[in-house]
């Protein structure tokens, strides 16, 4: 006899890609809401807002990431990114992303490429892209970065790996 499995509701974006919810600070998936309306604040750490991104972009718990808006200001820094880049989210918020990360892709023509990509993605129109970045004032360290849209509201998610 065929066993029936319970269906899991999946949220999808306008392209039909599965959306994953994660905390903008600890990256954990939110617990199922017990009360209505569900809180946007992470129930695990209480220090991040629950965001959504496509499954191929969403960070795993140990992956550092930053959230950047259309003005290229840093809006959120994950706990792992705070440790990796030695920055404090409360100090980094509202600062320009180029104060922390610069492009390190030898094939890319310049900084404008990274910034243009972030603006496009933060506007909600871009797709998942990968690039190489390095911390500002640091040489010899390079991170592969996945960049794609997240939200709400619309923003760019830059996941370092």
């Amino acid at each position: 006899m065929r066993r029936l499995r319970a269906l899991r509701p999946v949220e999808v974006d306008e392209r039909g890609l599965e959306l994953i919810s994660f905390c903008g600070h600890c990256a954990l998936a939110p617990e199922p809401a017990r009360h209505a309306p569900p809180s946007r604040v992470c129930g695990h750490c209480g220090l991040g807002i629950v965001l959504q991104a496509t499954a191929d972009l969403a960070p795993r718990q140990d992956e550092p990431f930053l959230v950047i808006d259309t003005t290229l200001s840093v809006c959120a820094v994950s706990a792992a990114a705070e440790q990796l880049l030695d920055i404090d989210e409360t100090q980094a918020v509202n600062k320009h992303v180029a104060d922390f990360l610069v492009p390190a892709d030898a094939n890319a023509s310049g900084a404008e490429n990274l910034l243009a990509l972030l603006v496009e993605v933060a506007g909600g129109s871009g797709e998942l892209r990968t690039t190489v970045v390095r911390p500002r004032q640091e040489f010899g360290i390079r991170f592969k970065a996945r960049i794609g849209p997240c939200g709400p509201p619309h923003a760019a998610l830059l996941v370092l790996s």
């Binding site: 903008g24 600070h25 009360h35 309306p37 809180s39 946007r40 604040v41 129930g43 209480g46 220090l47 991040g48 807002i49 965001l51 959230v67 808006d69 809006c75 959120a76 820094v77 989210e89 409360t90 980094a92 918020v93 509202n94 939200g151 509201p153 923003a155």
Partner: protein
């Protein structure tokens, strides 16, 4: 005039749809929302701060950015007050303070809106300008009005303030008025006298019986201050004496054992009250120790 809605931790947490622990974690990490304390040392959040954060969280990408946005929303009161005073609009200045009071306590409205606005005007126009004179007179009037509306003294505590400022246009004068207001609102009896006048001082001191003396302001020279302090000590005996806004630009002042209070009116007020409370506790312990000794003596005499 001074109505401000406050929320308990559980109420503020419910409004933000988070747990009370999360709210306390935000206080530690972001310093916001910043609660006051009730008489029982419980946290009391101002409704305005919590509401501003709730609105910011709805459109925020992180708690940090929401806090930053909420702080910006609250700082509009300072901009409004500066704008009103710079354009000589008294009604608008009063309204700006009313708005500030809807979101904050009197103490925080003075420290976070009134005094910073006056500082900005002083830096922008100079403290010898007509705009400064206009703004300083308005602020002095506002602080005096607030002091008149303070509840009557309830504590057995009296503070004598020796005013060493030039006049109400002295930049330190507003801080001194604010300090008097905070002390008065805490239920203490306050009397401010100009340091320049010493005749009849002993009568005033005997009548007030101060628990502490504060010499505030840096305009009058040390010799005048020393004479005034000597007369007060001669009339009242040894008392805790403190200096408020007496040193300028890091210059050293002769203190001879007097306490130097922090430069902010609220910090000075808290510091002074702690000093007086410590002194009163010590006095109670001394009295208790003496009564125990008396009891021992009486028992021994009875046994003998």
């Amino acid at each position: 005039m001074f109505s401000m809605r406050t929320l308990k931790t559980s109420e503020a947490a419910a409004l933000l749809n988070v747990s009370p622990n999360t709210l306390r974690a935000w206080e530690r990490r972001f310093g916001y929302p910043k609660p006051q304390r009730s008489a029982g040392r419980h946290r009391l959040y101002t409704h305005g701060e919590v509401a501003a954060l709730r609105d910011a969280l709805q459109q925020g990408l992180s708690i940090s950015s929401a806090v930053s946005r909420a702080r910006e929303a609250l700082s509009t009161d300072t901009h409004t007050l500066v704008g009103a005073l710079a354009s000589f609009e008294l009604d608008r200045a009063d309204s700006a303070m009313e708005s500030a009071l809807a979101l904050r306590s009197v103490e925080r409205s003075v420290e976070e809106v009134l005094l910073p606005s006056l500082d900005e005007l002083g830096q922008r126009y100079g403290t010898d300008s007509a705009p400064w004179a206009f703004a300083a007179r308005w602020a002095d009037g506002w602080l005096r009005r607030a002091q008149r509306l303070a509840p009557p003294p309830v504590r057995r505590l009296a503070i004598l303030v020796g005013d060493a400022t030039r006049n109400e246009l002295d930049p330190d004068a507003l801080a001194v008025r604010a300090f008097e207001l905070f002390c008065g609102r805490s239920g203490a009896r306050i009397m401010a006298l100009p340091v320049g006048g010493v005749s009849g001082l002993s009568d005033v001191v005997e009548c007030l019986a101060p628990d502490a003396v504060v010499i505030a302001g840096g305009h009058l020279p040390d010799d005048d201050v020393a004479l005034w302090a000597y007369r007060v000590r001669a009339a009242a005996g040894p008392l805790p004496m403190a200096l408020f806004r007496r040193s300028h630009h890091g210059a050293k002042v002769r203190t001879t054992g007097t306490l130097i209070l922090p430069d902010t009116p609220f910090g000075a007020y808290r510091h002074l009250l702690a000093l007086i409370d410590d002194r009163q506790i010590t006095r109670v312990h001394e009295v208790a120790a003496l009564s125990v000794l008396d009891g021992d003596l009486e028992r021994r005499e009875a046994q003998a």
